[in-house]
Point group: C2
Chain length 567, copies 2
C-alpha cells in the first residue's frame, strides 16, 4: 500500500500544498491558494514603505483550501488514492513572521476589536518598521552580549522577532499589552492542526527561535531577562510567556486533532512535524547536505548550507545565522540571503515596464526575458545594486536602497531588467565568497523556487557570474516537498515514514537534467562588472570605504521619512 | 502699413516658423514641421548610442513647409496680410551640427552615392561618436594652446565641430575625402535662401564659429594650421576651405534670391540675417540683457547670458563658451547648458512608464505631472543624476551616464519622474553657482521653450531648488522670435526694421504674468538634497573627490562599447 506525506508551504503571496509519494518522491497533487487580503496578500501602509503585514485569517482559509484542493486533485490523478494513506504533515512558513495572540492562542487580528488594526496582524518577514529597534538591539548586544550577535552575522535585523515585538511595544502599546504572547507563523500552524494553540502548549521550532529570536541551548534558550529588560521591561515579561525549549523539525509538534482531521478529510492522529521556515525546509527538499549550497529563489532569496554539528565552525560575519538543527537535525544550519530578488523583478515589471512588452505581468515577463536573453553581458552599460529592500547578507542593513547607474537616452526596459537580474547574481556571489572565506566549502549549488524553474536566463546569468554550474531541484514546490519530508520523518519509520532526513532525501529528492554551465566569455565580462559592483557595494554599503558617500542612501531615507511624517 | 519679420527655427525633432509684427511682437502666425526621417527626425545606429544624425533633405523640405504654412495661416488670421510686408528673415538651428558638402555646396547626403550613408548626414549636436577626438583635442590644446580652451570652459566637447570633423576623417575617410568642406546647419540655411551655398560664398556666423570651432578674432580666426596638423593633416587642409571671418547675426548673410522668393511667396531681395544657434537667438527672443539668465528649456537646455564686451570677464571653467557677439552684438555671449533635460523625460515616458498612466506619450506626461505635483519634496527618497546624455556644464564630459538612487519595492513611475525633474534642477543650480562664482551676477531668470510653457511643476521645482523666481517668456516660439528679431535688425531701420537688438527687444519681447516664486519649505528640503546631489555629482564626475569611484561610469561605457563592437 502506498504511503504519502503532506507538505504545507505558506509563502509571501500565497500558500501551497503537495502530496508526496514516499516511495519515489512523486508529487501526486499540489494546490495553491493566493492570500485574498491586501496587495498580493500583503497589507501595506501608503505612508510607510517599511510596513508589510498579513491577515492571519488568510492563513486559516488557505490551510483548508490547499489541503482540500490537493486531496481532490490526488483522487482525480489516482483513483486508488486514499487520504488515510497520508501519514504525516510538515509545515513551513515565511519568517520571522510573528503575530500577537491572546491567552487562548487566538491571533489578535481575529478579534473584532482589532480586525482592522495593522499592528494586530502578522508582521511579515519583510516588514522593516523596526529598523531603529534592530539598531538598538545590535548596539546593546555588541556592548553586553556579543555572543548573541556572533550567531546571527554580527547584526540583529529589523526583520526579526525581538525587533518587531519591541517596535510593537513602542509604536502600538495597545496591541502589545493586549497580546498575551507572540508566535511565529511556522509554530502557529502546526499547533492549530494539533488542535491547541494555547501559548504554553505550542511546540517551538529551533529554526525560528535560533535564527530570529537569539535562542541557543548554549546560553539556556532565549536571551536572558536582564538583557531584554534593558531594551524594555515589557520584553523581559514577554519572555516568561514565550518558551523554554525549541526543537528541530524531526520532532512532533503534535498529532492531527479530530476536529481538523474531519475538516481536512485526513486521518486523525497522524504526525505533525515541528514547523520551520520555508527556506530551511526548501533546502531539505532540494537535497541539501554538506558541501551543497541550496538557493531558494523567490521574492527574496535564501542561501542555505549545513555542516556537521561536531565540527568547528567559525562565526561568519554578515550571514543571517548559524543554528544547530535549524535545517537538518544534527547539523549546523547556515542561513544567508538577499532581501529581494523576485520582488525586484515584480516591482520593475509592475511599475516600470510599458505595455509594449505585453498587457499582463506574465506577458511582459516573457517578452523581457526574451529580449534580455538576446543581449551580450555589459553591452547595455548598466549596473544596479540589488538593495530595493535593503541588504540582508553580507551587510545586514535594511536602510539601504536600490541604485541604477549607466542609463542613457537609449536605455530600454529589458536592458534594465537584465541589469537587475545581474545585480541579484552579484549579490549572490558576494554571499558565496563570504561563506567560503570562513572555511565552508561550496562544491555544488542546487537552486529551487519559481525563479529557478521559470527563468533559464536568470540561471545562466547566475552560472556566468558565479563561475559555477547551476543545478535546479526537480520539484516545483521544493519548500512544500521539504515540509512533506519532515512530515514523514516526524511520523517515523514504524508508521511508514523515514528514520531521518538523509534517508528521506535519498528516496525523494533529485535535480533536473538541465544544468546551467558557465560560459567562459561571459564569465570574463562579469568578473569585471562584479569588481565595479563591489566598488558601489562597498562605497554605498560600508562606512570604511572611500570616505563619506555611504551616507547618501541613509540621508535620503531619513528625508523621505521626515517628509512623510509631516505630509 | 504693417511690417513683419520671419523667424525660422530648426530644432532637434522639428522646425518651425513665426511671422512677427514688428510694432508689438504679436505673432501673427506660426507653423511646425516634424522631420520625417529617422526616429523623431534623428538617424540612430542601434549598435552605438553615441550616433545622432539628421538628413539634410529634411531641412530643405522643412524650410518650404514652414514658410508656406505660416503665410497661409497669416492670410487667414489677417485678411489684409501681404507676404511682401515681411522685410527680413532670421534663421537659427541646433549646433554644432556640421554637414559635409561638396564643391558646389551640396550636402553629400543629397548625392545618390551617399544618400544612405550615416556619416554623410548632418552630425546632430547630440552626436557623441567623437568623444575620443574631443579628449585628444583637449589634451593637445591644454599642452600647446591653452587659450583655445579657456574660451570654451577648459574642455573641448565631442559635440563640437573639430571633434566631429576629425572623427569623420578617421572613422569615415571616404566621406571626409569626398567633402570639399563642412558647414554648420545655421550657416547653410541662410546661404540656401540667398541662393548660393558655395563654400567660399557662405557667410559664417560668430556664434557657431566662436562656440564650437575655436574661432576668435584675437588669434586670427580659426585655430592655426600647425595645431590642426598635429591632430591630422587633413584638418589643416580643411581649414583652407573653411572661412577667414565670422560675424554676428545683425549682419547680412545675403538677400533672398529670386528663385527662393518665388518658391516661398516672399519678396525677393529682403534681408537674410547671419544664422546662429537656437539657444542664442532664443535668449534674444526671451529678452536677454546684462544680469538676465535666459534658460532655453528643450530636449537639452541652454543657459545664456550677456556681458558688455568692454568689461573684463574671467574665463569660467566648465561653461560651453564665451564669445564676443555670439548672442547680442557688442556683448560677450556666455553659453552654458545641460546635455539632456526634456530628452530625459521623453526617454523615461517612452520607455519606462506603463500605460496605466495613459495610452499616449502626452497622456502619460499629463498623468505623471499631476501625480508628481502631489508629492512632497524628498518624500519618495529618490535622487538622480541628470547625465543620461553626459554632462555639458560644469563637467564637460560626454562619458558620464544616468544614475538613480533610493528606489524601493514601492517606488512608482511618477516618483522617478519627479526625481528626474529635480535632477535637472540641481544641474541647473550647479551652473548658476558656477557663473556667479566667476563674477557674473544673475538678477533675473527668464525661461523659454516648450518645457517652460507646458510644465508648471518643472518651473516650480526650478524656483524651489534655485531659490529664485522663475519667469517665462511670453512667446511659445522664443527661438523663432529671436530669429525674427535678427531678420528685422539685419534689414535695418531704413527698411522698417530696427537699429539694434536692444531696440527690437523693447518692441517685441515680454514675460508672462505667472511668475513661479520659491516656496521656503521646499527650498529647505531641496537645499539638503542638493548637497547630496553634489556629493554624487563630484564623486562620479570628478577624479579628485573621494578617490576612485568616478571611474565606474567610464568603465561601464567602455565595457558597453567593447561588447557592442564584438557583438
Amino acid at each position: 500500500m502506498k504511503r504519502y506525506a503532506l507538505g504545507l508551504d505558506f509563502g509571501t503571496n500565497s500558500c501551497r500544498s503537495v502530496i508526496v509519494d514516499l516511495a519515489d518522491g512523486n508529487e501526486l497533487a499540489a494546490h495553491v491558494f493566493s492570500y485574498p487580503t491586501g496587495e498580493d496578500g500583503i497589507l501595506l501602509d501608503p505612508q510607510d514603505p517599511n510596513v508589510a503585514r498579513q491577515h492571519p485569517g488568510d492563513y486559516g482559509d488557505g490551510l483548508v483550501a490547499i489541503v482540500a484542493g490537493a486531496i481532490k486533485k490526488a483522487k482525480k490523478a489516482d483513483k486508488a488514492f486514499d487520504p488515510a494513506s497520508i501519514i504525516g504533515i510538515g509545515v513551513d512558513t515565511t519568517g520571522s513572521t510573528p503575530m500577537p495572540i491572546d491567552l487562548n492562542g487566538v491571533p489578535l487580528a481575529m478579534l473584532p476589536k482589532f480586525r482592522k488594526n495593522l499592528n494586530a496582524m502578522a508582521w511579515l518577514w519583510k516588514d522593516h518598521t523596526a529598523h531603529a529597534e534592530a539598531a538598538e538591539i545590535t548596539d546593546l548586544a555588541s556592548r553586553t552580549r556579543p555572543r548573541y550577535l556572533a550567531k546571527c552575522g554580527g547584526t540583529y535585523s529589523s526583520e526579526w522577532f525581538w525587533s518587531k515585538s519591541l517596535h510593537c511595544k513602542r509604536a502600538a502599546p495597545e496591541i502589545f499589552n493586549a497580546a498575551h504572547s507572540f508566535v511565529e507563523h511556522c509554530d502557529y500552524i502546526p499547533a492549530l492542526l494539533a488542535g491547541d494553540t494555547k501559548p504554553e502548549h505550542i511546540v517551538h521550532g529551533i529554526c525560528a527561535a535560533g535564527h530570529k529570536a537569539m535562542y541557543c541551548d548554549e546560553w539556556g534558550g532565549l536571551p536572558d531577562k536582564e538583557f531584554l529588560a534593558r531594551l524594555d521591561p515589557g520584553l523581559a515579561e514577554l519572555r516568561d510567556r514565550l518558551y523554554e525549549k525549541a526543537v528541530p523539525s524531526d520532532h512532533l509538534a503534535g498529532r492531527l486533532s479530530p476536529k481538523w482531521a474531519k475538516k481536512l478529510d485526513l486521518k486523525p492522529g497522524i504526525a505533525i512535524a515541528v514547523g520551520a521556515f520555508d527556506a530551511h525546509m526548501g533546502a531539505v527538499g532540494s537535497g541539501v547536505k554538506e558541501g551543497v549550497l541550496a538557493k531558494i529563489l523567490g521574492t527574496s532569496t535564501c542561501d542555505m548550507m549545513v555542516m556537521r554539528a561536531d565540527r568547528k565552525l567559525a562565526d561568519i560575519p554578515g550571514v543571517c545565522g548559524v543554528v544547530n538543527g535549524s535545517i537538518v537535525p544534527g547539523y549546523y544550519g547556515i542561513e544567508a540571503g538577499q532581501s529581494a530578488v523576485g520582488d525586484i523583478f515584480l516591482w520593475f515589471i509592475n511599475n516600470l515596464v510599458p505595455e509594449s512588452y505585453g498587457k499582463t505581468s506574465n506577458k511582459r515577463f516573457t517578452a523581457l526575458e526574451k529580449a534580455a536573453a538576446a543581449l551580450k553581458p555589459g553591452a547595455y552599460g548598466l549596473l544596479a545594486l540589488d538593495w530595493n529592500n535593503g541588504n540582508r547578507t553580507i551587510l545586514v542593513d535594511a536602510r539601504l536602497s536600490g541604485l541604477l547607474i549607466g542609463q542613457t537616452l537609449h536605455t530600454k526596459a529589458h536592458e534594465i531588467y537584465r541589469a537587475l537580474i545581474e545585480a541579484t547574481a552579484f549579490g549572490a556571489l558576494a554571499i558565496i565568497k563570504r561563506i567560503e572565506e570562513y572555511g565552508v566549502p561550496i562544491n555544488e549549488i542546487v537552486n529551487c523556487g519559481g525563479l529557478a524553474v521559470k527563468n533559464p536566463l536568470l540561471m545562466q546569468i547566475y552560472a556566468d557570474v558565479t563561475g559555477r554550474p547551476m543545478k535546479v531541484s526537480r520539484s516545483d514546490q521544493t519548500c512544500a516537498l521539504g515540509a512533506a519530508i519532515f512530515g514523514a520523518v516526524a511520523a517515523g519509520k514504524d508508521a511508514g515514514g523515514f528514520a531521518d532526513v538523509s534517508e528521506a532525501q535519498s528516496a525523494i529528492c533529485g535535480v533536473r537534467d538541465t544544468v546551467y554551465a558557465p560560459i567562459p566569455e561571459n564569465q570574463r565580462t562579469y568578473a569585471e562588472l562584479y569588481g565595479l559592483y563591489r566598488e558601489l557595494h562597498d562605497s554605498f554599503g560600508t562606512a570604511t570605504w572611500y570616505g563619506k558617500i555611504n551616507h547618501v542612501m541613509k540621508r535620503l531615507i531619513a528625508i523621505r521619512e521626515n517628509q512623510r511624517i509631516h505630509a
